[in-house]
Point group: C2
């Protein structure tokens, strides 16, 4: 009954040092990371097209390590898409392991059915990070836009162009990948100096 | 960029033969399983207390293999809970691998925030099953109650007592575990003979 003891101990080992006291973990300063060498994974989760973007900080510059979209055809049932997201995340967490994951915060204006599907896509990615003891944070889309181009209502194409410029990419990344890279960049900005808006740990 | 080819091929291999044509996969008859030897895993997902119950069919009888609750203290951040759910599911899927997973269907009367959290918990479990190519289904709570005690509005304690009796357990299982066992039993009932209500594949 329950999770077996050995499994639980393994779980505890994998999750060691992650315990945060109390229930007031909604808004915490991220654990310090080395701004000269940190790896940050940005995620823009969705069931059919999860964007991801991994960057490495190097002093005052940053470099894209990996970015793209986990695409799942409409013909796949939901559990297969979520499985693909999980496997994709496992690769992203295993190769050049990130110091933390940063997710796009949610709009709460969606309907319930959409909200649950969005939650499921987030859950698959978050679980992958959580099972490896990697901290996850979220940043609201407006905060990401503000950090990148100084205007919370900026258009997607403006963000993609800024991402391309900041990371010296040959071409503009695909929209979902650009969003994910923007999340990682915004997080790096906020935590290399003044913290304007503490991200919400999830 | 994107998921690497080797990774994608591995994914395809793990998910092989799962492709369903078209987008009309919402309501399908489950793939046939051997009613004399099938293993069914019922899941009642929630962030802090996911119930699980695994049963093995043996002709006209059924036996509980494993059941319990994946509990996550309130002090844990969300990603850690989801990680624990994922690791718990991975153990449940590896030991006595189930032929399919059956989830409790959702109430849509919750608020958006609750719906997203519920979705995240479902997503973590669903992703684990999906990444191994195990089919997942859902059954509405009322259908589960109807199947077990003939009345969709039955109380939880009545369900737990029926679960205990059907599986010849020494004592009543914990409520969340009883719910999960009930889901697995209801699925087994429906697919050992007449299908009253085709479950929704998710």
């Amino acid at each position: 009954m329950g999770i077996k003891k050995s499994q639980f101990e393994e779980l505890q080992k994998r999750l060691k040092s992650k315990l945060v006291q109390g229930n007031e973990v909604d808004s915490v300063a991220p654990r310090p990371f080395d701004p000269a060498a940190a790896v940050i994974l940005g995620i823009d989760p969705s069931l059919r097209a999860s964007g991801f973007g991994k960057i490495r900080l190097a002093g005052r510059t940053m470099k894209a390590i990996d970015y793209g979209v986990i695409e799942c055809p409409k013909s796949w049932p939901k559990s297969r898409c979520l499985g693909a997201i999980l496997l994709g995340m496992e690769r992203l967490l295993a190769e050049d392991p990130p110091d933390c994951c940063v997710f796009e915060g949610l709009f709460y204006s969606q309907n319930l059915k959409t909200a649950i599907i969005m939650g499921e896509a987030r859950g698959a990615s978050l679980a992958a990070a959580g099972s490896r003891g990697i901290d996850s944070y979220e940043l609201a889309p407006r905060k990401v836009k503000q950090a990148l181009v100084g205007f919370g209502g900026a258009q997607k194409s403006a963000i993609a162009k800024m991402v391309q410029r900041l990371l010296s990419l040959d071409q503009e990344p695909m929209p979902d990948a650009a969003d994910a890279l923007a999340i990682a960049i915004a997080f790096a900005f906020e935590h290399s100096g003044v913290i304007l808006h503490p991200p919400v740990r999830i």
